[in-house]
C-alpha cells in the first residue's frame, strides 16, 4: 500500500464572485468536522467587485502552523488564475480548471471540468462548488463520506427542500469525483484524521480577538471602518449589545479613542480597533489615557505602511508606534497574538490588563491573521478569568492619584456616580487631579505610571532547547511559520533555541532572563527597520532581525534557509555582512 500524506495544500483562484472563497470555506469546514487541522489564507484585490482573488486551505493531521509554501492542488477558475498560480505547484501538483472559461494545451498536469454544465445536471446550478470539491477530494483520496457529512450538516436547516438540495450536492460531489477519475491524476493519499478529544471552533483571528474581549466582559466598543480591522467593528455591531453594552460606529478614529477614554473613565470596559492610519490619529488620545490613567483597549490590525500604505497586504511595522504612540514619556503594554487561538486570549487579557493597571493596552495583530480561518480548541469560558478595576468605595476626599510604590494591587479608582470625586487630568496633576507643575508631583506620578506596569507580570511564554547560545524569537503572526522553520532546523539537529511570547511589553521577567544568556537572538519580522530586534537591543540583548517587507508572509522554507545560514555564520564566528 502506498504511503500516506499528512498534509495537503489546496488553492482556489479566480475572479471575485466565482466562488473562490466559498469553495475554500466548504473544504475547510468539511475537513475540520472530521478532525483534520485546517488553516486558510486568502488574498483580495483592491477593487470591490471582481478582481483576482485566491483562497487556499491547508489540511493536516497535525496542527497547521502556516499557510504552506507550495500547492498540491490548484483550482483555477480562469486563465489569469492559472497563469499566476501554477508556478506555486509542487512537482506532483495538479491543476483543475474551469474549461468553460478557458482551455489549456493537452499534456500538462491538469484537467478541465465544465463545472456549470455539470452542475445543471444535478438540478441545482448552485452545486458547482461541490463538483470542484468532489474532484479535489478524489485527487487526495479524501473519503467522500466526510464531504457528504458536511453537506448534510450545512443544508439540514429544517426547511422544505433541504433533502433535494442535499441530494443534488451529494450528486455533484460524485460528478466531480468521476471527472478526476477520468483525468487519471492522483496527488496523494490523505491519512486519516486523529479525532480531536476536545470541542473545537472554526474562527478567524479578528473574530477571535473580539470574542476574547467579550469573554473578559467588554461593555463598550466604538470604531471607524478601516481594513483590515473593519470586521471587528461589524462583529461588535452584531454581538456586543445588551443591557449596559453597546457597539457603535463613530465619525473618526480621533472620536473613537476619545470616546473609549470617556467610557473607560465612566467605569466601562471599552475598546476600539483600527489599522495603522487610525492608530496614528489616536496618538494624542492614547497619551491622554496613559496620563489620566484610564483603562481602555486599542486593537491595531496592521497592514502595509506607512501612511495609507498597502491596505490589503500584511506587515509588522507598527510596533514602534504601538509601544510609544505619543509624545512624552509613554510606553504602553503591547500584546501581539501569534495564532488565531492566541488572538482569543490576547483579546481577553488586554481587557483584564487595562482594568488591572488602569491604563490603555494595545493588541497588535495583522492582515495575514485577521481573516485567516482556523479550527482551534473551543475556549473554556469557565477558565477565562475576568478582571475588573478596583473601584473606590470609601468616603469623599480620596486621593486618586496618590503615589504607588508597588504591591499586587493598584490603589482603587473612583467611578463617577460613586464616592471619591476627582479630576481625571491630561495635564500633570496632584493627588486629586488638579493641574500642577510642581516637580514633586511630576516625579512621583511619572514613577507611578511606569511602576504600575509591574502589575502585568503574568504573561505566558515559550522556551525550547534553552541551553542553545542562539535562539529564534518571532513575534506576532510570523510565529507559526517561524515554528515550522525552527522545527525543520531542529530536525537537522542544528543547535538553535526557541523563545516566544505574545506579551511584548512588559516582557515576562523569566523570559528576559533566558534571553540575557543568548549570544544571538534572531528575530524574523515583516518590516524594514527590524523594529523588535532594535527594541531588544535597547534592552541590552544581542538581537538581530531577518526582515522581509514585501507585503506577504514569510515562507517557511525560505525562512529556514536564512536561519540556517545565520546560525552557521554565528558558529563560525562571522559577523553578518
Amino acid at each position: 500500500m502506498q504511503q500516506q500524506s499528512h498534509d495537503f495544500v489546496i488553492r482556489f483562484a479566480g475572479e471575485g464572485g466565482q466562488g473562490v472563497v466559498t469553495s475554500a470555506d466548504a473544504l475547510a469546514r468539511a475537513a475540520s468536522q472530521v478532525g483534520y487541522h485546517v488553516q486558510t489564507f486568502s488574498t483580495f484585490p483592491s477593487q470591490i467587485l471582481g478582481g483576482p482573488t485566491m483562497s487556499q486551505v491547508r489540511i493536516s493531521t497535525t496542527p497547521v502552523l502556516s499557510a504552506g509554501d507550495e500547492v498540491d492542488v490548484l483550482v483555477a477558475f480562469n486563465q489569469y488564475a492559472y497563469d499566476n498560480h501554477q508556478a506555486d505547484l509542487t512537482a506532483t501538483g495538479v491543476t483543475i480548471y474551469n474549461s468553460e472559461e478557458f482551455d489549456l494545451p493537452v499534456g500538462g498536469q491538469y484537467f478541465g471540468i465544465k463545472v456549470d454544465e455539470l452542475a445543471k445536471t444535478t438540478g441545482n446550478a448552485r452545486a458547482a462548488n461541490m463538483i470542484v470539491l468532489g474532484a479535489v477530494a478524489d485527487l487526495i483520496e479524501m473519503p467522500l463520506e466526510y464531504i457528504d457529512g458536511f453537506i448534510r450538516k450545512r443544508f439540514t436547516r429544517g426547511r422544505a427542500g433541504d433533502d433535494e438540495i442535499i441530494e443534488a450536492n451529494i450528486k455533484a460531489i460524485r460528478l466531480g469525483v468521476a471527472e478526476a477519475d477520468k483525468s487519471g491524476f492522483h496527488v496523494g493519499d490523505l491519512a486519516a484524521p486523529n479525532q480531536p478529544g476536545y470541542k473545537q471552533i472554526m474562527i478567524t483571528g479578528n473574530a477571535a480577538i473580539a470574542l476574547g474581549a467579550a469573554a473578559a466582559g467588554l461593555d463598550f466598543y466604538v470604531g471607524y471602518p478601516i481594513s483590515p480591522a473593519t470586521t471587528i467593528l461589524v462583529w461588535m455591531e452584531d454581538n456586543l449589545i445588551g443591557k449596559d453594552k453597546f457597539a457603535y460606529q463613530v465619525s473618526s478614529e480621533i472620536e473613537a479613542i476619545s470616546a473609549i477614554v470617556g467610557a473607560g473613565f465612566a467605569g466601562k470596559k471599552s475598546m476600539t480597533a483600527t489599522a495603522g492610519p487610525g492608530l496614528s490619529l489616536m496618538s494624542e488620545g492614547l497619551g491622554l489615557a496613559w496620563m489620566a490613567e484610564i483603562p481602555c483597549v486599542v486593537v491595531d490590525v496592521q497592514r502595509g505602511g506607512p501612511a495609507t500604505g498597502l491596505p490589503t497586504k500584511t506587515e509588522q511595522s507598527d510596533l514602534f508606534a504601538c509601544m510609544h504612540p505619543a509624545h512624552g514619556d509613554v510606553k504602553l503594554p503591547v500584546i501581539a497574538p501569534g495564532t488565531v487561538e492566541e488572538c482569543f486570549y490576547a483579546g481577553a487579557k488586554a481587557v483584564n490588563w487595562a482594568e488591572r493597571y488602569q491604563g490603555p493596552v494595545i493588541v497588535i495583530s495583522e492582515f495575514q491573521q485577521a481573516e485567516r480561518m482556523q479550527n482551534i480548541v473551543a475556549p473554556d469560558l469557565a477558565k477565562v478569568q475576568v478582571e475588573s478595576r478596583v473601584a473606590y468605595t470609601g468616603s469623599n476626599g480620596f486621593k486618586r492619584y496618590q503615589s504607588w510604590t508597588g504591591g499586587n494591587e493598584l490603589t482603587p479608582m473612583p467611578v463617577p456616580g460613586g464616592p471619591g470625586a476627582y479630576v481625571a487630568n491630561g495635564s500633570e496633576h496632584d493627588e486629586i487631579g488638579d493641574t500642577t507643575h510642581l516637580a514633586a508631583h511630576h516625579v512621583r506620578l511619572t514613577e507611578r505610571r511606569f511602576g504600575k506596569l509591574g502589575l502585568l507580570n503574568d504573561g505566558e511564554y515559550e522556551v525550547d532547547n534553552p541551553d542553545s547560545p542562539v535562539a529564534v524569537m518571532p513575534w506576532g503572526a510570523s510565529k507559526g511559520v517561524a515554528q515550522e522553520a525552527y522545527n525543520a532546523l531542529r530536525a537537522e539537529e542544528i543547535d538553535i533555541g526557541w523563545t516566544y511570547s505574545m506579551f511584548l511589553h512588559p516582557l515576562p521577567a523569566e523570559l528576559l532572563e533566558v534571553l540575557k544568556k543568548k549570544e544571538l537572538i534572531i528575530v524574523p519580522e515583516l518590516n524594514y527597520q527590524g523594529q523588535w530586534s532594535s527594541m531588544l537591543r535597547s534592552m541590552g540583548l544581542r538581537a538581530e532581525s531577518i526582515t522581509q517587507y514585501t507585503g506577504m508572509p514569510f515562507k517557511a522554507g525560505v525562512l529556514a534557509d536564512r536561519l540556517r545560514d545565520r546560525v552557521q555564520q554565528h558558529q563560525e564566528g562571522k559577523v553578518p555582512a
Binding site: G242, E284, G287, D430, I432, T435
Partner: protein
C-alpha cells in the same frame, strides 16, 4: 479647586468673564442636583484646554467628577461617558478655540445623535491661555498677536451653525448675568438631548468686549447684547432662524426641540436585537 487645593496655581485675570460663568454653573449644578435628588457625584464636568476649561479646577464647594483631557476633544470624551452611563449629568465647559476651531468636527455628530449633553461654551473671541491669538469668533480685521495686520478670515457665527447642524437646544447669554445664565444652564441640563449654552465671556486681558456688549447708557450707546423678546417661540425653527438674522448677541433661549435622544434609540436597538451570551457567541463558531 482653590479651597480643596491651595497649591493649584492657575488664576483667572481680574474681571475675566469666566468668574461669572463659574458662579452660574455652580448654581445650576446645585439646582439640578436638588431637583433630581441626585448626589453631586452624579455630575461630570468635561473641560476643554484653555482659561475657560480650567474652570473644572476652580469650582468651589462640593465637587463633581471632572475630566480635563486634551485640546478640542470635550465632545467625543463626553459622548463616551454618556453612551456608557446615560444616567450621569454630563456638562462640557470649553472655550471658542477649543470648541469651534480644533474641536469643530465633533459638533455635527453629537447633534445627529442628539446625545443628552450640556455644553457651556465660553466665547471670548480669542485664545486666552496662549496669550491672545485670533479664534474663529474673532472679527474680520481684528488685530491679535497672530494677526498683526488684521485677521483675514471672516467671523464664524456659532449660533447659526448650531441651528443648521440640528442642535436641539440652543441658548445664548453673557457672563455678566450669572443668575439668568444659571437658569439657562439648568434648563439645558434638563433638556433631553444635545444642548449648547453659548456664553459671551469677555477676556479682559486680550479682548475686552464688556463695553461693546453692554453699551453705555449715559453716552446713549446701545450694547451689542439684547434680550430675546418675551413673545419669541423657541419651539419654532423659523422664529429662531429669524431671531439669529438680527445683529448682535441675543440673550436667552433661542431654540428648543424635543427629539429622540441617542439613549432612546439605543434602547430601541436593544429591544430589536438578538442578544447573545458569550457562550452562545462561541457556539456560532462550533465546527
Amino acid at each position: 479647586m482653590s479651597d480643596r487645593n491651595a497649591e493649584y496655581d492657575f488664576k483667572w485675570c481680574p474681571g475675566c468673564g469666566d468668574f461669572g460663568v463659574r458662579r452660574a454653573l455652580e448654581w445650576a449644578l446645585q439646582a439640578h442636583t436638588q431637583e433630581h435628588e441626585t448626589p453631586q457625584s452624579n455630575n461630570v464636568i468635561v473641560a476643554g484646554i484653555g482659561c475657560s476649561g480650567n474652570m473644572v479646577h476652580l469650582l468651589e464647594g462640593d465637587q463633581p467628577f471632572g475630566l480635563h483631557g486634551i485640546h478640542g476633544r470635550t465632545l467625543p470624551l463626553a459622548f463616551g461617558i454618556k453612551m456608557g452611563r446615560p444616567e450621569l449629568n454630563t456638562v462640557i465647559v470649553a472655550g471658542d478655540g477649543d470648541f469651534l476651531s480644533i474641536g469643530a468636527e465633533h459638533i455635527g455628530p453629537q447633534a445627529q445623535r442628539n446625545v443628552d449633553l450640556t455644553c457651556v461654551v465660553m466665547d471670548n473671541g480669542v485664545y486666552g491661555l496662549t496669550k491672545g491669538q485670533s479664534s474663529p469668533t474673532s472679527t474680520l480685521g481684528q488685530l491679535t498677536s497672530s494677526t498683526p495686520y488684521g485677521k483675514i478670515e471672516t467671523q464664524l457665527f456659532p449660533l447659526k451653525m448650531y441651528m443648521s447642524m440640528g442642535v436641539s437646544f440652543i441658548a445664548s447669554h453673557y457672563s455678566s448675568k450669572p443668575r439668568e445664565l444659571a437658569k439657562l444652564i439648568e434648563q439645558a441640563m434638563n433638556h433631553k438631548g444635545f444642548s449648547i449654552v453659548h456664553v459671551q465671556s469677555p477676556c479682559t486681558t486680550y479682548n475686552d468686549t464688556y463695553d461693546l456688549l453692554k453699551g453705555d447708557r449715559k453716552k446713549g450707546i446701545p450694547g451689542h447684547a439684547w434680550a430675546i423678546p418675551e413673545d419669541h417661540d423657541p419651539s419654532s425653527r423659523q422664529a429662531a432662524i429669524d431671531l439669529l438674522d438680527r445683529p448682535g448677541i441675543p440673550l436667552g433661549l433661542v431654540y428648543q426641540e424635543s427629539l429622540p435622544t441617542l439613549e432612546d434609540r439605543q434602547e430601541e436597538v436593544r429591544s430589536k436585537a438578538r442578544i447573545r451570551t458569550v457562550e452562545q457567541m462561541v457556539e456560532t463558531y462550533a465546527v
